[in-house]
Assembly symmetry: C2
Homo-oligomer: 194 residues x 2
């Protein structure tokens, strides 16, 4: 049995932001290449979606999770779970390591890490991201929320594929090099100004 992969599938601007500072993604709303950049194929390859709390709340405000169908399991990572679970989502307060171990032990398809930046960072630091599929939209938005919440962190990636689309979007597909390659850099000496 192949290992279930945890994959960040996400859109960014050319300047590397996943949303404006206020969370809005109006800049994603543009004419698209036929086939929407292969999202249907990706969607068929997963059966589980992992959400950070803010991204989940944003999706709820945009009409809920039903757009992802009833066959997908949704897990929302939060330190402040509501009193009861939503019908189509499970709130998770366990450590990432434990949840990932449980998910990988169960049979199933790949797992979509939806983001945002905070949960991607936490998963990356736990060595729990296998791949990134980054859809680079041909626009600069100037400022916003970065792909990964900033922190001193070096992660080596391996380019798996590059797919340009007629509408100017480029899909960059990377595999994360094994956890041993995830290095936390030491704090610089105090003489280095930041």
């Amino acid at each position: 049995m192949e290992k279930r992969k945890i994959i960040v599938y996400i859109a960014t601007s050319v300047d590397g932001y996943i949303a404006r500072k206020d969370g809005s993604v109006d800049w994603l709303d543009r004419p698209r290449a036929k086939g929407s950049h292969g999202i249907a194929g990706f969607f068929r390859s997963i059966d589980t979606i992992l959400w950070g709390r803010k991204t989940y709340d944003f999706a709820m405000s945009m009409g809920g999770l039903s757009m992802f169908g009833s066959k997908v399991r949704n897990y929302i990572f939060t330190h402040r779970p509501p009193a009861q679970d939503a019908p189509d989502a499970e709130f998770v307060r366990e450590p990432i390591d434990a949840v990932v171990k449980r998910l990988r032990a169960a049979p199933g398809k790949d797992i979509w890490m939806m983001g945002g930046a905070g949960i991607i960072a936490s998963f990356l630091d736990a060595g729990a991201i296998d791949e990134f599929i980054i859809n680079v939209v041909p626009v600069l938005i100037g400022e916003g929320i970065p792909l990964v919440e900033p922190s001193r962190r070096d992660v080596d990636l391996k380019l798996v594929a590059t797919r340009p689309y007629p509408d100017g979007l480029v899909q960059l597909h990377y595999a994360v090099r094994p956890p041993a390659a995830v290095k936390k850099r030491p704090k610089p000496s105090s003489s280095v100004a930041e």
Copy 2:
């Protein structure tokens, strides 16, 4: 005669940074594909380099501008020019519009905008960048100096070419849509928290 283009040719990490917070680019120092991603061809297409002051100072600390040869004209944009010009560089304190008008009126090859983030932002806001050639290095560095100094700014780009290299670097080549497409977004209403 073709218009001389002003081209940002630069390397970024996958998370969109051109350098670490302290300016260091140690993460660029990795085994490279043969031919160094076509830099020689690009270098033959230009005869002028534009520098922001900090990037120029950094280059000087790394051994000076002589690595770019004696045939290239270097302009350094700064509000604090030194008492006299360096032998291989001219310090510019004029407004960007005036300098760009003068450069474009003179015959010559294309012009390399070296960066950093501040001068790229100023040129972009002046509608003076024609193209970006972004060499995306397959690594996440977590935090650093972004490609363009953050500001509320939308710029539409047109994908010109995508070139993946065997070492995992991907070169993304974009043209900036005409200056009319450069929009400063209005300030949000005061009810929007940032």
